[in-house]
Symmetry: C2
Subunit: 422 residues, 2 copies
């Protein structure tokens, strides 16, 4: 990488308070003017008012782009024509500092909300983008062919394409609020974030004046079926699923879990929920919230190690040992921590989910404890559970998953056995 | 988070050389004993010989697990029964420090390769896991129903499940080698990695004695159809696709690009390539390498911003403006940088890809320049290209994508127009 003309050669290892020009952030203020913009630029260090930077872990690739000489360090995003296709909010929830702590409610509209700051030279980037798409899933086409779904020409075409509004959301963590969600002090949260990542961002411990952190982790994607504004109206029936990423099933259809079948079932429910009665629908709105938390946020390497340990243990892959094997390898059963998940629902203004397409008690508890009502809970139809995924399903039902049927007992768990490795 | 008994309360902001007990890493040494283990533990600071830690960005979730009091900081993974289901290597490529610079070839077998170091108290974790799976894709079932694929009971069941070996791989970067791939000095690479991430890991610039970095980014997943050992035998026909993640298409089937259709076409080609002649197969082996590089490694927020800019620009979404819109927002057309991608192929011992199911000239160039021969290039069948994805396909063909057909000219690019937003 050729050094750019005039590039400073002095490296400051940790930033210090007292920089000139940084705008304050008053988290949870009701208007963008009071709240102030999130400035994660890597150009004007004095303008930064957060720890970390934009694009999550893709900032590492931005660095490679600079190293390769392909990207100018001072490139500023041209936001012409990029504004959201659908207006979302502002909702009263945006003005409650405890209701939303892990995303920036103004992140989609920075170009308008902070137009004067941008004009004054601040490099302010969207952390949310909202667009429209046509999504075509083989499972939806099959539902049309079998008569379970009926095209309406508006939300569902004759060819089986569903018309959606979708939003990508990057995490923006307000550390005092995140700490309260996890029941620890902000100082302890900052310390473990620094130490357990092997020393990422010393500012976590040196800059207590910076309360906002852009963590280099994956975010969320929303798929909205119907009118996005209806999500905030409790009188309109909302069908919703909060889904955690599972690449092996979501993309490749691995039969060891129910992730893709449950997701595509939820999409079918969302389409039907949003369609007009004339097409056999429920005249409401649908939502899929997809979180990047591969392998229960343990990552795929740990996930595959656990698969091997399950399949090879004495007695085989039985439901009664399902959680134990994950704990042996990872130290915990699950790292998804649904405590932050409801934030995105509050961003959408949601106050009631009429039909929650999830059996997870952890998701249910997190949603209801955050103040959102949940009506019916919709289980995965038994015929969609692959044979080898019965181990996971039975273990989870015994551990508290919602089921309209019988909760398996100890004997049932021991007898539920998956395939071996060979 | 309650502080643990005896936990040190002194925080060191950057680590310094001279710690006792850290084992040396001699990158590219031919045996694990000479190479030495990668130690990214967060427990014994003196044992660490890398920058960063394990599990990519999921280390942030590990921190949350500790903050919530759910995970003991001194938990050590119990690796019983987790070893790879298939033996991969060692291959001569593993002993060439320039051939593999972005993963640890010994990462799958740490429990055996570094058994004595683990017994001596070093916390050494796998960065690769290898398991087996049955994958069931609706597109493969359709191929069986339409007679394009014939179940053989071994690689493809009557129900349409394909039996695979799969591997998850976390990035392990040897910084001197990565710098050479990008044509910059190691010092410049370290500096931009630090600066463009907003100050992640000061050790990048303070600890030039640590040559290995575990970046908090997504890795790769391999799906192998047939015998994994055959990948290293150039006499066995290899069908392969290197695929970059696109959640919107891979999972949700968005019709603006060809990602899922090309991926499922490649899976069909891999199955047929690996099946015996008696089932209409080619008696070879198949490979899908799936890289976590969402939205050309720009992330999904940038991707959706670009979609809006494309759909709203004057003249509509035409192929001649396809790359320009990405550059306006992101500063570059693409950040995937295929320079590191071939490493995983060398880890598998691959010397020849007989049928490369990809039209990308960037992937082709990276693979062949790394010393792997490529025979036939397999394009996506035209009938699998969604109408709205013609914009991308034409723009890419004009920019150098492989096509057996006509390369579109300026007029053709202007006339290829996608759907508007409404």
């Amino acid at each position: 990488m050729p050094p750019e003309p005039g590039a400073p050669r002095h490296i400051r290892l940790t930033s210090h308070a007292g920089g000139t020009g940084a705008l304050p952030i008053r988290w949870g203020a009701a208007t963008p003017a009071e709240r102030g913009p999130v400035v994660g630029t890597t150009m004007q260090r004095g303008h930064r008012n957060v720890i970390g930077t934009h694009s999550g872990s893709y900032s590492v690739y931005r660095a490679l782009a600079v190293a390769a000489g392909a990207l100018a360090r001072d490139h500023r995003a041209d936001l012409t024509n990029t504004s959201p296709t659908d207006e979302i909010g502002p909702y009263p929830q945006w003005g409650d500092p405890e209701r939303i702590v892990s995303l920036d409610p103004w992140g989609a509209t920075v170009a308008s909300a902070f137009a004067s700051e941008i004009a004054a030279g601040y490099d302010i980037r969207p952390t949310i983008a909202v667009t429209k798409a046509h999504v075509i899933l083989p499972e939806v086409i099959e539902a049309v062919q079998k008569g379970r779904l009926k095209p309406d020409g508006q939300l569902l075409t004759e060819g089986g394409a569903a018309l959606v509004t979708k939003a990508a959301i990057e995490p923006v963590w307000w550390l005092p609020g995140v700490a309260r969600r996890f029941g620890c002090s902000e100082a302890d949260l900052r310390r473990v974030l620094f130490e357990e990542t092997g020393g990422m961002y010393p500012e976590l411990v040196t800059r207590s004046d910076l309360g906002v952190f852009l963590p280099p982790i994956g975010g969320q994607t929303l798929y909205i079926f119907g009118d996005a504004r209806d999500l905030a109206d409790p009188a309109v029936e909302l069908t919703a699923r909060v889904h955690d990423e599972c690449n092996g099933s979501d993309v490749f259809g691995s039969d060891i879990c129910t992730c893709r079948p449950y997701l595509t079932h939820a999409i079918e429910e969302c389409i039907r929920g949003a369609q007009p009665a004339s097409a056999g629908g429920r005249g409401g709105v649908g939502l899929i919230s997809y979180s990047r938390k591969e392998g229960r946020a343990l990552g795929e390497v740990t996930k595959f190690l656990v698969y091997n340990a399950r399949k090879r243990q004495v007695g085989g892959d039985t439901a009664d040992q399902y959680f134990a094997r994950t704990e042996c390898v990872a130290g915990v059963q699950d790292m998804r921590f649904q405590e932050l998940m409801p934030d995105v629902l509050h961003w959408l203004g949601i106050r009631r989910i009429h039909r929650l397409v999830s059996m997870s008690n952890m998701k249910y508890d997190a949603i209801t404890q955050s103040g959102i009502e949940v009506g019916e809970r919709v289980n995965i139809p038994p015929e969609l559970i692959p044979a080898d995924a019965q181990v996971e399903m039975m273990a989870k039902m015994a551990a508290g998953y919602f089921t309209p049927g019988v909760v398996p007992d100890e004997q049932g768990l021991k007898q539920t056995r998956g395939r071996g490795l060979e």
